[in-house]
Symmetry: C2
Subunit: 423 residues, 2 copies
Amino acid sequence: MSSNLIVQKYGGTSVGSVEKIRGVAKRIKKSRDAGKDVLVVVSAMAGETDKLLNMAHELSDLPERREIDLLLSSGERISSALLSIALHDMGCPAVALTGRQMGLVTDNTHTRARIKEINAGRASDILKKNHVVVCAGFQGVNDMGDVTTLGRGGSDTSAVALAVALKADLCEIYTDVKGVYTADPRMVPNARKLNMVSFEEMLEMASLGAKVLQIRCVEFANNFNMPLVVRSTFDEGDEGTRICQENPDMEQPVVSGVMYDKNQSKITIKGVPDQPGIAAKIFNALAEASISVDMIIQNVSAEGHTDISFTLPNTNLQEAMSIMEKKGKEVQAESVSSDSNISKISVVGAGMRSHSGVAARIFSTLSNNKINIMMISTSEIRVSCVIDSKGTEQAVRALHDEFKLEEEPVQVSQPATDASPTA
Amino acid sequence: MSSNLIVQKYGGTSVGSVEKIRGVAKRIKKSRDAGKDVLVVVSAMAGETDKLLNMAHELSDLPERREIDLLLSSGERISSALLSIALHDMGCPAVALTGRQMGLVTDNTHTRARIKEINAGRASDILKKNHVVVCAGFQGVNDMGDVTTLGRGGSDTSAVALAVALKADLCEIYTDVKGVYTADPRMVPNARKLNMVSFEEMLEMASLGAKVLQIRCVEFANNFNMPLVVRSTFDEGDEGTRICQENPDMEQPVVSGVMYDKNQSKITIKGVPDQPGIAAKIFNALAEASISVDMIIQNVSAEGHTDISFTLPNTNLQEAMSIMEKKGKEVQAESVSSDSNISKISVVGAGMRSHSGVAARIFSTLSNNKINIMMISTSEIRVSCVIDSKGTEQAVRALHDEFKLEEEPVQVSQPATDASPTA
């Protein structure tokens, strides 16, 4: 089943200078010298995409999306050509391929295109010659032959898609951190790097703001069961974090990590008449403005009236408030208020499925730390609480301690199901 | 016959910043508002190509040519996308096209590819919709679909080729000077901008080091009789210099300009036995090393021996001398010496064909200024002299004065050939 092919994706900081590109080339050569076929996907050099985007925005408040894609795709073309040149110089034959040349065909949604198909014939031919393929990440072409891009973090998705198309064993995502941690190491000094995370957990973590992987890339890997490894470009000794399907042999701690998100705000509408259709009115108005709402709670208050609170990204607060003030009047609400000093704390773990009492432990921990919970939401493998943002650090550290995340989990071996102890 | 299409090419300094790109967009919009169809070809932003090339050379002494083409082509993709964005922002619909999208197919000679054909169907369709086409200069694709580039100054050639393919009326080359001058204005303060120059004159001037146009672009325009106009991006009032075929109505001054080239060296081989085949031996060795020789003179010296002198670019002097020292021994020459303090002064004018005595006036002028002539070469419309480089400025100014180049030439009307004065 093994194809001997490994896909390696290097992010912008990994190829941020000529010197770093040379370092990446050495690392690739090592994999190839070890007998692997290697296909590499690169991002633009760190800062390049922002530089190009800033020029476009200096020229136009609303630059044409088609031209933005042509503009931004240059960044990855540059880094892929330079990396290929560096590999050649080390005696490691390599061929740089653009989105078109790697056969990455997308729909026509410029700046956030979806992959339709991959015709990786050329990449496959190059690999058969025992050359390294260096693909420009983040980009494809639509049916008209115009350049499209996959949106921010799209290079991760390019890498997984190519790994799936070419039936690679593994897709390695090289970045500037060692892997996925139990908590943000800048906030929790004893945060531990996780050796394994399930796709489901990683999906929750990515949607909660873990920036190490884009949610789309994890979805893609999960759909096609392509194992991912997140690891550091600059620390060869560390094996990083493996992200794959859950299986019975996998270590399954109850809780894998504690996440926080300070970039949320809360809007509260008080004293809304408790009639059918009011909530629909409010949230339809937000949906029409393309504002995505995260948590929603509704409490019955006195005399047939109700209070509704919801959270949303900080960046949408101003627009949402002006909509809500209008809608509030329409539905005869008592008041509309907002709070941007909130923080969402989340505890994620695949083991929650089989272990009860996790939510209760979270609430107790916060309570013992005199941290008030404003809102709660849960999924099968996650519990999130909105708190006052002042308490963020204290809450994250306390929960990290409560679930002993700094300790390597004990591997619990499954009891053999056909064992008959007394026979 | 008129197609209403105008091709405008903007060089690197013309699009060297976001502010300048906006200025170029305004200029294009003005042409379109005046009822013209406009196809634009842009170079990379000034400095961009060198920046990319330097990174490649930091990574490898001999970077792969295929990858260099992928790398460098990004510069023009960036400027074309930005210019298209600027045009959109002014309410002037535009579409940026890459080398592939404009249908510019080349041979496979990476970094200095030759154009094989242009399939400009897409550009033509866009023009029919009354949109501006913004083409990334300097680049094409080969039959394999790999990016190729046309060599330095290739954007001028792209522009002429597209103008020919789309049957444009005119190809305008926008740059940072007002046009073609009678002499380098930095050396000759009263140098005059020429309103018209013939293709033949421009070919001589380009090969003599006039940097305003690449020789290949002029050859292409001459072959397909596509009129060129060289004009300033930053001075809208000036109509620049028109370069086109000679015709009877064209002003035909005897001399159009005085050029100089200080980047030449001279090698002299003395006392070569005067036998057949010796010169061939010497110059074959240089040709094998891809060193192009400019002027050659051979004098018979005493006793069946001969002296050979030739000029070549400074950059090849060292290599040529080491070849010549070897060859000199082989052919039993007395000595081999070199002189890099020389300068080639050239006088160019299509009117020389019908006016005799120009060479004599040049020699007299130099002689009156006590400037010694080391070598002479001529073509139908050019006289070149090699002199000591110390005399360069004096020679150029004296010749400029001698032929009264600072004065607008008097338009001499041709006598009607069928006039019979006494009838």
